[in-house]
Symmetry: C2
Subunit: 299 residues, 2 copies
């Protein structure tokens, strides 16, 4: 699969972009590398490359977009794990950054990873106009109307299951509020992966709209599967603390819809993604594989 070759290139590019541990400030650089190079499924880079396969699979700017989005994702995990946020001590089977290092270093490592992500895009091997489009796409996805905003809604809602996050939006019910929360917290960055892959290859508005639809379904499916795994999996399999949602009294798809209806919704999204990708013939095979993974993954 072409994406596996791309992923090998990606890991090398990622390691090369991170400052060496023996360069000052060593503790910060060690924490940044620890946060980013500790493995993970690399779903977001895979989405960038898989979308790139629809257009120009070998474009070198795909590496830059994949690295940038993974840096943003890693920064968000480091900050979300902090005691003042989700207070998680385990991530991918390893101590989280603030446990392995300390809280101040974790905050700063996240901050520095974000700055690095935008630097990588600003130097991507593609025309300057496209570089600035990639940057606005990623900045919107990461910021207050995207990922950070979604985490804020999550914090606002913690311990208030079934309540609408502050402030109430007219006509919104708990499920709509949860959908908005995850659409921002995880969906925005997933959409940015697909958008960046498309911007590097093509900017036809009709194609972008189709791919946005796919990305939204993908993000929702990924989150529902996450909620299911939190109640059905065990820590060794998942590589992180399980049962945290219930312990923190968080609203999830499982808590609002129940397990059976959550699984039915997931199956429905799977069908919808297949329909959306149908017109893209074999060029969308890697996107199809990723969609299947989002729906059926066990870790």
């Amino acid at each position: 699969m072409a994406t596996e070759q791309a992923l090998t290139r990606f890991e090398a590019a990622l390691a090369a972009q991170l400052p060496a541990e023996d360069s000052v400030p060593s503790r910060l650089h060690a924490a940044m590398r620890y946060a980013v190079l500790g493995g993970g499924k690399r779903i977001r880079p895979r989405l960038v490359y898989a979308t790139g396969e629809l257009f120009d699979p070998g474009h070198p700017a795909l590496d830059a977009a994949a690295v940038a989005v993974e840096l943003i994702h890693a920064f968000s995990l480091v900050h979300d794990d902090l005691p003042a946020m989700d207070d998680d001590s385990l991530r991918r089977g390893q101590p989280t950054v603030h446990v392995a290092f300390d809280e101040a270093t974790a905050i700063l490592a996240g901050d520095a990873l974000q700055a690095l992500a935008f630097r990588v895009l600003a130097l991507a091997p593609i025309d300057a106009e496209t570089r600035t489009k990639l940057i606005t796409t990623l900045a919107d996805a990461a910021g207050s109307i995207g990922m950070c905003g979604g985490q804020q809604l999550d914090m606002d809602a913690t311990g208030k299951r079934g309540q609408i996050p502050f402030p109430p939006e007219k006509g919104s019910d708990p499920l709509s509020a949860l959908r908005r929360l995850h659409g921002m917290k995880t969906g925005a960055l997933i959409r940015a992966c697909v958008r960046m892959g498309a911007l590097i290859g093509d900017t036809d508005p009709g194609v972008l709209t189709q791919l946005d639809g796919f990305a939204d379904d993908f993000g929702l499916a990924f989150q529902i599967r996450d909620d299911i795994l939190d109640v059905e999996s065990d820590a060794m399999q998942l590589g992180k603390t399980v049962g945290k949602d219930a312990a923190q009294d968080k609203a999830t798809y499982v808590s609002l819809l129940g397990l059976a209806e959550s699984k039915a919704l997931l199956a429905n999204l799977s069908d919808k993604m297949k329909t959306t990708l149908a017109p893209f013939d074999t060029r969308a095979d890697t996107l199809r594989t990723l969609a299947e993974f989002a729906v059926a993954r066990v870790s």
Copy 2:
């Protein structure tokens, strides 16, 4: 003074770039506005505009650069004030963001302000190539080899006055280590202000080198004055907690050199800045005024 008109434009541009408090997530947007619109001396935007006066004073991209750098500065203050970092409860005479809101909101507000800064530059009214140069300049200044890295060295050094921050650099003494720390923590962003002002107007390498020298002296002078104010001022005048450096056993210019020698160094830097700006005739008058302020300010 031309800069005062620019500052009025700046405050309007800054407020316009920040999301409205009544847009979701309200709590996050309220915290972002609280962090940024609470006044402050706007030294960094002033440096952008004052450098712009050497070239094309009315260039609209100066507003974008000034807004972006102030967003980065505000984000750094919010994070530096956190309990895990400097643990400050007072800033500009007001409760810090984590006190006025909560820690999670403060972390996320800082994160979202950083993303917004790069978005503003990516959309600045200037050619795309220059926009990407502004972004790399600001990203380097904000990241692990700049501002965040300097704060890390500060954290590493806290409570170990006179010790060289981890890891020891060959041949470095406490004063060199402190200089490096502040060159990264505050100096890098100040240098970026001057560089961005210059990039928008002119990119002559000789001029950039001269202005880099001015910016480095300015940053150092600003920090020494800060250390002096921490021991000589009172909280009402300064608008923030005083005597924190000594209480936290932090190395400062005053603790390493003593008060008299710190003041002598400051006078020396003042003379050096005057010499550097001499060839720029009256176009550098605003930069001269700012340099005088850095050296002699009482708050």
